[in-house]
C-alpha cells in the first residue's frame, strides 16, 4: 500500500528521541552525559545534536544543561490552528463548560491515537491529569469512542490491531468484541459514555464531530465526578446539550 517500508532517517529519529527525553524531564534540564546514557549514544554525538537543535531554537541551554525550547510551541500551536476544529469549535466548547459547570474537551484523532486539542473549565470542573496536547488511546475515552464509532470499520480494525486495547482502569474496555458492540450502540445513538474507563471516579459523555460523509474528524466530551454525572443528567440532559453543540459545529464546518 502506501506504507513506506523505506528505511527511516535515523538522524531525524535521534533528534526527536532527544526532544522526547527533554520533554519528559518535566522541569529540570538534562546534561549531555545523562542524555547519552539514556539513548545509548556517544557523548560527542549528543553534544553535536543538541548544539544543532539549540541553533534551531527547539532546545535551550541553561549553563550546561538543556531543556526543550519554545520554537516547538510555535510549531505546535500552528499545527493546532491549522486543524479545522480549533477555530470553529472553541466557542461552543467554552459555552458548554459555562452551561454545565464541568470540564469540556475538544479531541481529535491522529494516527490511531487521541489528541486533546484544548479544553474549557466550568465552575465545578474537576482537575485531572488531562492537558492540552496530551496523547491517549481512543478506546479509553468517551470522545475517543465517539470517534471510533464514526470511522470506517477497516480503520477501526487497523487501529485496534496497531495499538491494542491497553487498560487504564479496571473498567477500560479491553475486549475487542465488547468494543465493537459498544461502538455499534454509540453509532446508533450518536454519543458515547465513559464510566470510570479512563480515570477512577470520572464519568463522561462524548459526541463526534463528523464531516459531510459522516466520518468523525473529532469529538467533544463533558466530564466530571461520577457522583455528579449520573441519572438523567448524565443520560439525557448532557447528551442533549452536547449534540446541540456538535450539530452547530458541523454546520459551521460545512460552510468554511
Amino acid at each position: 500500500m502506501n506504507e513506506t517500508q523505506n528505511r527511516p532517517v535515523k538522524t531525524a529519529e535521534t533528534s526527536f528521541a532527544l526532544l522526547e527525553q527533554l520533554a519528559q524531564a518535566d522541569g529540570d534540564a538534562l546534561g549531555v552525559t545523562e542524555l547519552a546514557q539514556r539513548l545509548d549514544l556517544a557523548k560527542s554525538t549528543v553534544h553535536r545534536h543538541v548544539g544543532t537543535l539549540e541553533s534551531l531554537g527547539v532546545v535551550v541551554r541553561d549553563d550546561d544543561e538543556y531543556r526543550i525550547g519554545l520554537r516547538l510551541l510555535d510549531y505546535g500551536l500552528r499545527a493546532r490552528d491549522q486543524h479545522a476544529l480549533s477555530t470553529v469549535a472553541r466557542p461552543k466548547v467554552e459555552e458548554l463548560a459555562e452551561e454545565t459547570g464541568e470540564k469540556v474537551w475538544c479531541i481529535t484523532e491522529q494516527q490511531g491515537r487521541s489528541v486533546h486539542l484544548y479544553g474549557a473549565s466550568g465552575k465545578n470542573s474537576v482537575q485531572t491529569s488531562a492537558r492540552a496536547g496530551a496523547w491517549g488511546y481512543l478506546h479509553q475515552h468517551a470522545a475517543g469512542k465517539a470517534i471510533l464509532a464514526h470511522l470506517p470499520a477497516e480503520r477501526v480494525q487497523h487501529i485496534v490491531d496497531g495499538h491494542g486495547l491497553p487498560a487504564k482502569t479496571p473498567h477500560t474496555i479491553t475486549d475487542e468484541n465488547e468494543l465493537f458492540e459498544q461502538l455499534e450502540q454509540i453509532a446508533d445513538r450518536g454519543y458515547a459514555f465513559n464510566r470510570e474507563e479512563s480515570i477512577a471516579g470520572l464519568h463522561a459523555v462524548g459526541a463526534p464531530i463528523t464531516d459531510d460523509d459522516g466520518v468523525a474528524t473529532g469529538a467533544i466530551s463533558i466530564s466530571g465526578p461520577a457522583n455528579r454525572l449520573k441519572g438523567e443528567w448524565l443520560t439525557e440532559t448532557l447528551p442533549d446539550l452536547l449534540l446541540g453543540a456538535t450539530n452547530e459545529i458541523e454546520l459551521n464546518l460545512s460552510f468554511s
Copy 2:
C-alpha cells in the same frame, strides 16, 4: 567560549526545514515535489524524510500531501508548561484583561527573540496578528523592551548585534543609541511603552518579571487602540495595575 563552532547536524536541519515549510503553509498541505523544490532537495530525499517524520507523528499525510502533525502540540505545550511563568502568571494575566478590558500578553525571551507564551482577552480587546507561540523582536514591543531593560548590558549588546533592529512600522526604534537611552529610562521607571512601534494604531505598556537577581525572565503587556490607550490611563493607571500584577507574580515565583 561555549559557542559550538562545530559543524551542525545537517540532517536535523533539513528535518526542521521541512517542518518549517509545512508550518508556514497555513491550511493547505504540501506534496513531495513542492517541498523538494522549495528546499532544493531531491524528491527521493524529501520522500524519505517525510516518511520518517510521519512515523514520528510530527507530520501527517492526507492522501499524497503532508501537513504539520499534532505531536508538536504535545512538545510545544510541554515546553510552555515547563516555563515558570506559564503556571504562575496566568491567573494574573487573565485578571488584568478582565480589569482593563484590553488584550494582555505574557511574553518571554529565548535566544534574543521574544516569544508570546499566552494571552488573555478583555471585553474590548483588539484583534491583532499576535498569537501564542509567535516569535518577534524584543525591541519592537513594550514587553520586549521591558525585558531588554532588565538584562545585563552585554547580553543586550549581543542581542542587538545578532539580530539587528529591524523596523515593523515607521515608529519602530532602529537606532542603537536611541534604544539604549530608552532602555535606561525603562529600567529607572520600571515599565515600557510602545507607541505604534509594532503595529500602526496600537499602543501598549509592558512591565518585566524579574528573578531574585533583578534579571528579567519575562514580561507582561497591556495593549489596545492608540485612541483609547492615551493620557493618564496609559501613563498612570495601566502601569500601576501592571506593576501590581508583576510584583505579585515575582513574589509567587520566589516561593515556588
